[in-house]
Symmetry: none
DNA sequence: TTGCTGCTCGGGCAATTTTCCCAAGCCGGA
DNA sequence: TCCGGCTTGGGAAAATTGCCCGAGCAGCAA
């Protein structure tokens, strides 16, 4: 019912860089069993292309500017639960990986992976299996040992403090805004970091921004 | 004297993502007159590959983790002033572009460019001309009109450190990536904050993100 | 050539912050 | 009632920051 031929795997390519897209296309098509049936350069077009071509696998770069790739995943999965989405990005942060799987992705590979690993992942995902590259597995494993899930585990106060912090407020400003002692804000700051698994403030800001807690 | 055939343009490909490299290779080779004679996945190997193959053009992604791509440019140019280096990256911040040209690059194209524009740029650079994609020209033009942002006051080392910091790297990671002492990275961190006027790390991340130094 | 200037690199050290561990009050649920 | 989680903060050692400094080196101008 899907794809081009009974013997091939049809792929929808979503990446905002034309030449990168074209590169993938050629790499995949050289495999013989993989066929790129459509391309999209942004999250918004991704679902339209999906509907039009019903591919076996969506190869999706979630580091597109502006629109959230996670949005695209959720979008496609909401309307076509059988869609297989393989996320392909240069980012390798645990929170991102988990968010992608949480949104409905079937696999996650980094751009540092060998082309053969990507091709293997595409075939796995097409068979309905879950796939991820070795480095991603490593990161998730480490992450599961240490602590963290993402922002969902934060309390109301923690979310508010994280929002103000990510917005650029100093500890003193947050304390006075919320009528707290500086010490309490510092303690929250530390708690938020441990809960989210962020190792630096920058990671915290990125996390908050990627989840819509703050705009940049 | 250089390249493979008298009628072709030989290219050295430097990018840290294997599949992206392979994609470029196929795109370029399909042109007929372009031949990828070598690849490298980091700045350190780039010069060795250059020496070994003496390519007409080096296609270099300067957004590689750790090592500064600018370093690679200067490295190659210092030993082989006739080298033609085409910088190819997803970043489009004016300071980066200027730094690249300042380091000796012959051209600058973004990954948002059409493949045909990249190919055209390679041919221009091989002829000894300067080349840049339309969006880069636009950015430089606008930049020359505007009074200059806070980021323009930063040196290239500072830019590189800010990029890695905003990307979520810890001080230790940056230090080891760049072969610097932790103390030096800390000093740069402080200097960057004072130069840009950022009072918190979060503000620094926001600044970097808003200027395209990092994506969120 | 000499000097100046700017970038890079790091030491030093006091002040501040971070990192953890802890306790206490409050509130909702079992 | 008791338990667990949230909120609020103290304490103290470890780490980082803020700001000062000097050295090396490249470019550049006089």
């Amino acid at each position: 019912m899907s794809g081009v031929a009974a013997t091939g795997i049809s792929v929808l390519l979503v990446d905002d860089h034309p030449i990168v897209r074209q590169g993938y296309r050629r790499v995949l098509e050289s495999q013989g069993d993989l066929h790129v049936v459509a391309e999209a350069d942004n999250a918004a077009d991704a679902y339209g292309a999906f509907k039009a071509h019903d591919p076996d696998v969506v190869l999706l770069d979630i580091s597109m500017p502006g629109a959230s790739g996670l949005e695209a995943i959720r979008n496609i999965r909401a309307r076509s639960p059988r869609a297989r989405i393989l996320v392909f990005t240069m980012h390798n942060e645990a929170v991102l990986v988990k968010a992608a799987f949480g949104a409905g992705a079937s696999g996650f590979v980094t751009k540092s992976s060998e082309p053969s690993a990507v091709v293997t992942a595409i075939r796995s995902v097409a068979r309905g299996e879950r796939a991820m590259s070795d480095d991603i597995a490593h990161i998730l494993a480490e992450d599961s040992l240490s602590a963290g899930s993402a922002l969902d585990q934060l309390g109301e106060r923690e979310i508010e403090i994280l929002r103000q912090f990510a917005g650029g407020a100093t500890t003193e400003q947050i304390a006075s805004h919320l009528n707290l002692s500086v010490k309490t804000v510092q303690n929250y700051h530390y708690l938020i970091k441990t809960k989210t698994g962020a190792r630096t403030d920058a990671q915290l800001v990125r996390l908050a921004a990627s989840r819509g807690l703050t705009r940049i």
